[in-house]
Amino acid sequence: MTFAKTLRTALRALRRNITRSALTVLGIVIGIAAVIAMMEIGKGSSGAIAKTISSMGANNLLVLPGAAASGGVSFGGGSTLTLTAEDCDAILRECPAVKAAAPLVRARTQVIYKERNWVPQSIVGSTPAYLEVRDWSNLTEGEMFSAADVRNASRVCLVGQTIVRELFQGRSPVGEEIRLQSVGFRVVGVLSQKGANAFGQDQDDLVLAPWTTIKYRVSGSSGSGAAAGGSASASSTSNSVFPGAPSVFPATSAAQALDKPMPVRFANVDQILVAAASSPEIRSAMAQITDLLRERHRARPGEPEDFSLRDMTETANALSSTTTMMTNLLLAVALISLVVGGVGIMNIMLVSVTERTREIGLRMAVGARARDILLQFLTEATVLCLLGGLLGLSLGRGAAIIVKQLLRWPVEASLEAVIASIAVSAAVGIVFGFYPAWKASRLDPIEALRYE
């Protein structure tokens, strides 16, 4: 009997008893629907959890300058000035696993507004990309400073909620002027509340300004006095300060560049904060950044790097263990419901074999071999389960969409769940259909024909 004929016979037999077929398959339908709905809701929630955790910095990488050493005495991490804003641009441009990168310049000083003063936990100089890296894009008020502000070292800043509370006593600070070391900054925006980080540090106690401004106008501590005042010509490698400006020097070839010693960098930054595109890509992002910076800093093979890279392993681990646990939990529930559905199928198929004993006898009498009968019943069970699986799939999707619409839960369609549930329902049909089919094929035609 060909496969097409077997399939047609099975479909015909199922249609002959449509109500029972529908009831039989209900277990599978509900099982698959539950699996799909839970997978979609679960995936949505774990996506939301992942987003929350990564906003805590799980996907962030920190590039720090390396340690300077003199006569065997190390000055500790960060004591050289090797990172530049161009490194940051290059990382973003050339590392595919990197989503965003922002240079950081830090300062710690007093902030004055009218008659009040406050020393924020952190005064950070960066670029507009900082908000993307920190997953902090929604501002309470105002707007982010622009790339042009960074180029011009404009005296603008954003303040965190703590600053609003302490300096402005809750009033809107946008448009007001604050002073950092006697440099006036216009407040252009207010950051949304972020709360404390994992170590209890208040992240809202922050003043955020263009890194050029902090570096050249405020901190002035990094030995970059020559560049203070924003004089672009002093910056040896920075052409991005004046994009489109003709290059003063003739272009150097790669060979020339390799031979030339690295100039002293006046435009160095303290750190580069990088966000990997996703948590699984942290490792490749680290490798790409290492390769890129070694090349840019002309480190010969075997030579130690003049920078170091840190990831937030602890938070990243928390993230992956949360998702793994969630997935395993869902899988366990899914398996149980499918086994229950499968047992239901087996039950009804056994009843069906008993009820159709005479049909089986007749089929054998007109020439069906044991194998034909086995295949017929197996096909019936499998087709039934597959149809149930498809029905369950659409029901589950529908349920997920309803949940999304009514409860506003995050929902994410999952192709794996679709493929898995189809495969599983076919497998359930084969596994639980086999015993009844085998029983049918073992019937004796004489007795089957006489069965009442």
């Binding site: 015909r12 008893n17 009498a365 071999r369």
Partner: protein, 250 residues
């Protein structure tokens, strides 16, 4: 001299019930030629159903040899017997054994799906339609068994038995569930199949009227052939032989 269509030599069949051996067939030897129409009669317990199952390749004798259409059946495997049943034997049962909720056309086509040599769907359909026309059910091809009378159901069963053009047709009490009028109708149909298609027909019955419509009557008693007599068949009547298709469903 060619072998007859059916040749039985010393066929014995013993059933084991617990520790007791119950011999049901105790050495049956007979020949049936092509084109014969034979009645197999005898009181209940005489072994006629067991003999019929053996002849129909549903059962295997304990000993003896059985040649059907130049093939030794007792040596065949289960699948081999299934193939013989499909190609060489048609069955008509007392209780019709039609599939529920299946149209007459599909019932008749069903055995073809187990035929190894591929028959196209169109060919299968054409054959089934021809046979249903032959048994006078051209108007009822799309009817399910519950929409057909007993006689019509048995005629669908006859069409189904003939769809693979077997040389022999076995009918086990084919009229046992029918009234006397439809009995004649079915007998006329069998006589026509025998006369026009040359198909050998073996009817198992305990009804002397049914047996009287055949040309040869083999009587069994206690697992042995008691008598084997040729006779002039009764004719089942011209009116019943061509039943009106518009006959009302029972």
């Amino acid at each position: 001299m060619p072998r007859p269509l059916i040749q039985l030599e010393d066929i014995r069949r013993t059933f084991h019930v617990g520790d007791i051996d119950v011999p049901v067939l105790r050495g049956i030897t007979l020949c049936i030629e092509r084109g014969e129409m034979v009645a197999l009669t005898g009181p209940s317990g005489s072994g006629k159903t067991t003999l019929m199952n053996t002849l129909g390749c549903l059962d295997r004798p304990t000993s003896g040899s059985y040649w059907l259409d130049d093939e030794e059946i007792t040596r065949l495997t289960k699948d081999g017997r299934a193939r013989v049943r499909n190609r060489k034997i048609g069955f008509v049962f007392q209780s019709f054994n039609l599939l529920p909720r299946t149209t007459a056309l599909e019932q008749v086509m069903m055995p073809l799906s187990y035929t190894a040599s591929g028959i196209t769907d169109r060919e299968a359909r054409r054959r089934a339609e021809d046979l249903l026309v032959m048994v006078g059910l051209s108007e009822r091809m799309d009817h399910t068994p519950s929409q057909l009378s007993g006689g019509q159901q048995q005629r669908v069963a006859i069409a189904r038995a003939l769809v693979n053009r077997p040389p022999v047709l076995f009918a086990d009490e084919p009229t046992g569930n029918l009234d006397s009028r439809t009995t004649l109708e079915v007998l006329a149909m069998l006589q026509r199949v025998n006369a026009e298609e040359g198909i050998t027909i073996i009817v198992v019955t305990h009804d002397p009227v049914v047996a009287g419509h055949t040309r040869r009557n083999i009587r069994l008693r206690d697992g042995l052939v008691e008598s084997d007599t040729a006779q002039t068949p009764l004719l089942a009547g011209v009116a019943a032989a061509a039943p009106a298709p518009e006959e009302a469903a029972a």
